[in-house]
Symmetry: C3
Subunit: 199 residues, 3 copies
Amino acid sequence: MMVLQMVLLLCNIYAELKKLKNMDERIQKLEETLAKVLSENEALKSIVQDSQNKLKSVRKENEAKKVAFSAGLLESGTGHTGPINTPKTLVYKKVFSNIGGAYDPNTGVFTAPVKGAYYLRFYGHSHGGPNMAVSLLKNGKTQCSVFAWKPTSNGNASNGVVLTLETGDQISTQLWQNTWVFDDPASYTSFGGFLIFPL
Amino acid sequence: MMVLQMVLLLCNIYAELKKLKNMDERIQKLEETLAKVLSENEALKSIVQDSQNKLKSVRKENEAKKVAFSAGLLESGTGHTGPINTPKTLVYKKVFSNIGGAYDPNTGVFTAPVKGAYYLRFYGHSHGGPNMAVSLLKNGKTQCSVFAWKPTSNGNASNGVVLTLETGDQISTQLWQNTWVFDDPASYTSFGGFLIFPL
Amino acid sequence: MMVLQMVLLLCNIYAELKKLKNMDERIQKLEETLAKVLSENEALKSIVQDSQNKLKSVRKENEAKKVAFSAGLLESGTGHTGPINTPKTLVYKKVFSNIGGAYDPNTGVFTAPVKGAYYLRFYGHSHGGPNMAVSLLKNGKTQCSVFAWKPTSNGNASNGVVLTLETGDQISTQLWQNTWVFDDPASYTSFGGFLIFPL
């Protein structure tokens, strides 16, 4: 009787053990698949990291682009600036916009906050009589100018330029000696510019 | 005899069972590794989600940037506009470009489609005689102007400005009362602008 | 005695085998989780691939934007250009910037390197006497112009335009017949432009 029970028990055990081989195969499959997943994930993590860095740089560049300003000569009132017998940096007081804060309304100087291509323009208006002449200067050196010789009525002239500026380069406009410009609340005489793209 | 067979059988079974410990260890290893993979993937999914959102916003911003227009005063023909005894919004009919459709050639008004920094410029040309004066207006308020007092030959003057506009802000140019401008197919008198960057 | 030992042994074996059910469950759990990981990773890889492509296109577009130039008429010296009895393409020799190399200082022609919205401007300055007239041309066709009829002192006039250009479109400025412009090292007469955004 006891022996018979043992035989039955052994048969059960034997049946159970057959599962072992199948489980071993399943574990091996899992191990292989998981190794593949780990390896693929390393590649994926590296791609994601690379994309993150590139995206960060794109976003940084897009933010860095936000440099633009524009100002009229007189904040209020009406009047001539010049003529005097020395060249004079024009200090535009009526700030229309100054995104990035690179234009200083106390000095009339725009300082490039990042290296890039900038568009810069200015406009001069004067009453008839004396000459009207203004140059745009980069670090004190004339880039482009306007000139109206003894206009019979108003002098009206504007110029603009695309310049590659290094960080810290300074742009200003200068009234020539013995010339004048005029401004009033309608804002004729103006200076402005913006970063087109960083470099 | 039977007992001997059973002993051998038991020995086999016993040998098989030794694999159980090894399999248990492999399963445990798999469980640990997979838990790590799951946790890493959650982090990865979160990074990818974040990158996707940032990229979406960069792409949206880049698309939103596509706002630019430019128009000449007369679509065809030759003639003066003004002088009349009230200020008059100039309606530029010869559309050179109007990407984003923010300029309305029926009203002469540019309506900012997104908040941002915009560059806006205009150019006025007139024959000699009456004054020539044009202002650029934001929501009806003068920003900057040109003025040529009784020019002996042509009046020629342009101005431009960088403005921060809110969505819906309206930009137009206005001819002053008792002043005039001239245009013909060569297109002298013009208005234009573009979004420099959204804010 | 031996039979009793064997029964005990079998009972131990049987107890061990009970673990098999637990291991089978753990393997099944692993298989299910790993299948989920594999499926999620496929989705993730596809998202990452898509983001990569979009990012690549954003970066390419941002790079493609880097087109800007500006030039003054005379590289050195002082003098009039014109008047002559045929229209003449102005060749600006004093290159302030030429990012992307799309402006040719030998011909005065800017060739759009990519399809996009471009801002283009020019400025003409002349001495009194003959007319001063310059047009901006796209593929030889006048877009906008300046004109100063027999100015008593200086002719000063600038114009600008936003144009949608196809790759290869050519922009130049043309002095009208029997008119002149003037330039010297202060650079009054100028031409410039930049890509606002690709299309």
